[in-house]
């Protein structure tokens, strides 16, 4: 079984947010209104977190694109009273929308704050319903959602591989953010396959994970920027 994971090279990222928009388009994420946004209810499975250090004029800013970390030891799963969120065999953290009762225990327990509650009914003007992705369901008000690593793409890739009577290859399955990233800053693949790019990068001396000390074992790795030496 593959163990899907992601490596994001912060040295390549330019914070253009193509991943953010691609994710919104791919996953039928409803857009907010100024009112809902004012209450911090924007849903964005992929978010770029700016982190500024220093004082004017000696500043350093880091941009951290954050999808669901798909932790190997997921705190959100432990608190779900109805099993609506669980870790599947490939290590992906699933969210069963029909099962979710909207208690938001998981959103509160996620140390990365990457689970989102549907505070408002997702609605699109009639014309915009045309662009909705038929592969991804629309969530209803009152349930929690989050990044799925574009799991529907995995399903399609599997079906295709099966139809072609072959094994699934790593490159068959690419999440939307990875596909669009102009700087190739995001890598995706099987962390358990020692030959894969992600497994190699995850072992790089530049690699780190967010809030590693909590023991959540996230499957999203980051590569820090190195200093320039001429």
């Amino acid at each position: 079984m593959p163990r899907w994971g992601m490596v994001i090279d912060l040295d390549r990222c330019t914070a253009c947010q193509a991943c953010v928009v691609a994710c919104k388009a791919e996953n039928n994420i409803p857009f907010s209104s100024p009112k809902e946004a004012g209450r911090r209810r924007i849903i964005s499975w992929m978010r770029v977190l700016p982190m500024m250090e220093g004082e004017y004029p000696n500043l350093r800013e880091r941009f951290i694109p954050r999808p669901c970390m798909h932790c190997d030891n997921p705190p959100c799963v432990k608190v779900c009273p109805v099993g609506a969120t669980y870790k599947n065999k490939e290590g992906l953290i699933a969210q069963v929308y029909t099962q979710c009762i909207g208690c938001r225990y998981c959103t509160n327990n996620c140390p990365y704050t990457l689970k989102y509650f549907n505070w408002f009914r997702p609605e699109w003007p009639e014309e915009m319903e045309n662009y909705l992705n038929p592969d991804v369901s629309i969530r209803s008000k009152g349930v929690v959602e989050k990044c799925t690593f574009c799991h529907h793409r995995l399903q399609k890739a599997r079906e295709k591989a099966r139809a072609e009577n072959r094994e699934l290859k790593e490159e068959d399955y690419i999440p939307a953010c990875v596909q669009t990233c102009p700087t190739d800053a995001i890598y995706f693949g099987d962390l358990d396959d020692s030959k894969s790019k992600v497994a190699q990068l995850a072992r790089s001396p530049r690699a780190f994970r967010l809030l590693e000390e909590l023991g959540t074992e996230p499957k999203v790795y980051y590569l820090s920027e190195g200093e320039w030496h001429g």
Partner: protein, 819 residues
């Protein structure tokens, strides 16, 4: 052992159901979307090109049952290689925007009314053609004006031809980069943007250029950036960003150097000073390929000042440091890094030229490239060879049309004003109001929205009210279209036949072919086809100039020459491309196809053509100046001034002074024609208005539609956690001095007006600069853009670059106080 509760849930949830309930299973109980008939999903991928910016990326549209549900980059396209920026991704929200104009409309109830009536395309075409005929029959064809907001490709060519055959000299394009292209023209004789060979560079000295955001080809420059950072093991390029704001480019650079607005050119001269004093410049290049570096004598025996002496006498580092606010240490480090990490490039864009001294800033910065010999070398400044498209047939028009064509355009400046201007669209409203040089009877607006983006928008409004009939081809009811009498809505680029050439900032020429991805959405028509049809209806001699049935026909005509170009390759796999590049650079070329029809079929199928090879050392192509060298002392500039002086009157020397006097510059002598420092002029007294207003464009607000795309409203201010509203970035010290806290509402006031906006305390703001994003504050356009945020353009007046006539957006001082 019984079934565990969790296992049970897994079974009933099922992994398929858990994430992505397939369409058929969701409609009934999950989806709040209204019921539609279920149909088997037919998926296809359609190839096209992106027109959301000038980059010209290749795209693939994922179409399911005739609906476009996702846009991805086309992996075969050499500009973006399968990648796409957020603007391209979000074009879905333009295509399917509920605010699009659904069909042709005419205004009823006179100019001031806001009532519209839907009409048929037949009626619309008849109205359009009758207005055109009326004008032409009266012999007034020059009184037609076309305001063209940066259209490219087919539409731009058809419009251009239409105006020429019709007999109007009034085809205007809005071009931000004018001061920069002028600098290239004066030094190298090239009248367009030059390409930067980022990938092979080791050091990038960026003077305020937004090369990671609102750049002419952002995906390409972002890819180059990533390559410089992590693409060449052991060889990482260094980037220094010099800008009055801690922008994205500054965040991603190795070093950010805050600089007093408008003094970018002076810093470049300071760097030149170090290069000259320390003898770090490229002596070989200077000797062979430049003119005017050392003092020189002209044919009449007059001696002239050289760039070397000009710089070393005038720009001592203490003066430069004091004026720019950059420490002497930093200047020396920048200069040394720049000269000792070759190949290096000094780059800039409109951010460094939006001042009264903008052209001189550009000259000073570009001169640095010549100093270290970074022109026409790998990793330096290059000149793109154009895609060899077929020229349009020659136009032969009657005498009356020729007469009208030779009329002065309505953007004509006063005698001697704006000596370097090729076109000064900023003068249009004033001239229309004055009826100068003649009144305007008919105006076309296409993708231009001067009522939103021009500093003299109030004048534009009055001018629009004065024009008897205005036709807008906009897809949205924007500020300018509100003043139209007839609206013929254009289709979006996703619904048209198109070709997109790569922007001139790309070193390799490429052309992508676009097919309509979606058809039959709304009752809109491609403006290309509308103009071609209008031409057909204008009578047989007029129509004979337009032998193309529609835009697709025109496209096929244009690409006809590619087969015979004897260079380049249809998009293919990287191996073949590399092979061809190697051959071509050694003077070989192997044809892939035996017949033109075979070639064309493959071209249409693969989606484009490009030429990966770059030929270095074609001197007369790179330096098109009188000396065939890079000119520190611009002889083209001298010629231009002399020519204008001649037009003014008889006594030449004296008349030159007329020009100089108008210019409000300090220099009069040789230095006038060289890079040097002129003090930037700001509007507003320093005592009353202590802060500089710095207007910038976030990536999420770079084109005209983005403010009306909810996705961008959510992400545009991510670095300050702002969304759905404008903000002003203020330095923490300045804010505490003024008693302003984060999220306070403040007034920003200039001599021209004031706006109320949310204050954001930002360490990346200089103490005397307040930065405001441009792109919000629409009064029309659509439901998400209208009355949201503020338009900083309201704060600035109509100030023009004295030489190029370009509006200067950064030349205003403001004060801020709590609202």
């Amino acid at each position: 052992m019984g079934l565990k509760r969790r296992d049970f849930l897994k079974i009933i949830g099922g992994s398929a159901l858990s994430f992505s309930l397939y369409d058929c299973s969701t409609k009934n109980y999950l989806s709040p979307i209204r019921e539609k008939e279920w149909s088997p999903k037919v998926e296809e991928w359609i190839q096209s090109v992106c027109f959301a910016c000038p980059g010209g990326c290749g795209i693939l549209g994922r179409v399911v049952d005739g609906k476009l549900v996702k846009i991805e980059g086309n992996p075969a396209h050499p500009i973006n290689r399968g990648k796409l920026c957020p603007v391209g991704q979000a074009s879905l929200q333009v295509l399917y925007s509920p605010d699009r104009i659904k069909g042709p409309m005419k205004k009823i109830g006179g100019k001031d009314s806001s009532k519209w009536q839907s009409i048929s395309w037949e009626e619309a075409m008849e109205t359009l053609v009758s207005k055109l005929k009326e004008l032409r029959n009266a012999g007034d064809s020059h009184k037609l004006v076309l305001l063209n907001g940066g259209n490219r490709g087919i539409l731009s060519e058809i419009f251009d031809r239409f105006m020429k055959v019709f007999g109007s000299p009034n085809h205007f394009r809005y071009d931000f980069y004018n001061s920069l292209t002028q600098a290239y023209y004066l030094t190298q004789g090239i009248d367009e943007l030059l390409a930067y060979d980022f990938e092979n560079s080791n050091y990038i000295l960026s003077f305020g250029s937004s090369f990671l955001t609102s750049w002419p080809s952002p995906v390409q420059s972002m890819r180059a950036y990533a390559f410089l950072r992590q693409g060449r093991p052991g060889k990482k390029a260094k980037i220094a960003q010099i800008e009055p704001r801690f922008s994205i480019a500054a965040c991603r650079a190795d070093k950010w150097i805050p600089i007093e607005p408008g003094t970018e050119g002076l810093l470049a001269l300071g760097i030149a000073y170090v290069l000259i004093k320390e003898r770090l410049y490229d002596r070989n290049f200077i000797e062979k390929f430049t003119f005017g570096f050392e003092d020189w004598e002209d044919e009449d025996g007059n001696s002239h000042y050289g760039y070397k002496n000009l710089v070393s006498e005038r720009y001592r580092l203490d003066f430069v440091s004091e004026t720019t606010g950059v420490s002497v240490d930093d200047i020396v480090t920048l200069a040394k890094d720049f000269a000792m990490n070759k190949p290096a490039i000094a780059i800039l864009d409109h951010n460094a030229t939006n001042y009264s001294n903008g052209l001189y800033n550009a000259l000073a910065i570009h001169s640095l490239n010549a100093l270290i010999g970074s022109i026409d070398v790998p990793g330096g400044v290059l000149v793109q060879r154009k895609v060899p498209l077929q020229e349009l047939p020659k136009i032969s028009v009657d005498e009356a049309t020729k007469m009208n064509l030779s009329q002065p355009a309505i953007d004509s400046p006063e005698e001697g004003q704006f000596p370097l201007a090729t076109s000064t669209p900023s003068l249009i409203p004033e001239n229309i109001l004055k009826g100068k040089p003649y009144p305007v009877n008919l105006a076309f607006i296409c993708k231009a929205n001067p009522l939103f983006s021009s500093p003299n928008s109030e004048k534009y409004r009055k001018a629009f009210e004065k024009i008897p009939f205005i036709v807008s081809f906009s897809s949205f009811m924007d500020e300018s279209t509100l003043y139209a009498d007839l609206v013929l809505p254009d289709k979006t680029y996703l619904e048209k036949w198109q070709y997109a050439e790569s922007s001139p900032v790309s070193k390799t020429p490429a052309i992508g072919i676009g097919k309509p991805i979606v058809e039959n959405l709304f009752n809109a028509k491609p403006t290309e086809d509308v103009i071609l049809e209008a031409a057909q209806r204008m009578g047989s001699s007029f129509a004979s100039h337009f032998p193309w049935k529609n835009s697709k026909d025109f496209l096929l005509y244009k690409i006809d020459t590619l087969f015979r170009a004897r260079k380049g390759i249809i998009f293919s796999d990287p191996f073949e491309e590399t092979q061809l590049k190697l051959l071509e650079e050694r003077g070989w070329w192997v044809p892939q196809f035996t017949s033109a029809s075979e070639f064309k079929a493959e071209l249409m199928q693969k989606g484009g053509w490009w030429d990966p090879a770059y030929s270095f050392g074609q001197r007369s192509f790179v330096f098109r100046t009188p000396s065939r060298k890079f000119e520190f002392y611009s002889q083209l500039f001298v010629k231009r001034i002399e020519k204008i002086a001649e037009q003014i009157g008889e006594n030449r020397e004296d008349k030159k002074d007329v020009i100089f006097n108008q210019l409000n510059f300090e220099s009069r002598g040789d230095d006038f024609f060289m890079a040097h420092y002129e003090k930037p002029q700001f509007e507003g007294d320093k005592k009353e208005f202590p802060l500089y207003l710095y207007i910038y464009q976030p990536f999420s607000l770079t084109n005209e539609y983005e403010a009306n795309q909810p996705w961008f409203q959510e992400i545009m201010g991510f670095h300050l956690n702002m969304n759905w509203d404008s903000w002003a970035e203020i330095n923490p010290h300045t804010a505490s001095e003024l008693g302003i806290a984060d999220n306070d509402l403040i007034w920003i006031e200039s001599v021209h007006g004031k706006v109320r906006v949310k204050a954001k305390i930002y360490s990346g703001a200089m103490p005397d600069v307040v930065s405001v994003p441009f792109g919000l504050g629409h009064r029309a356009l659509g439901q998400w853009a209208k009355n949201r945020g503020i338009n900083p353009i309201d704060l600035i007046g109509a100030n023009f670059d004295q030489l190029t006539g370009l509006a200067m957006k950064l030349s205003t001082r403001v004060k801020i106080y709590r609202a």
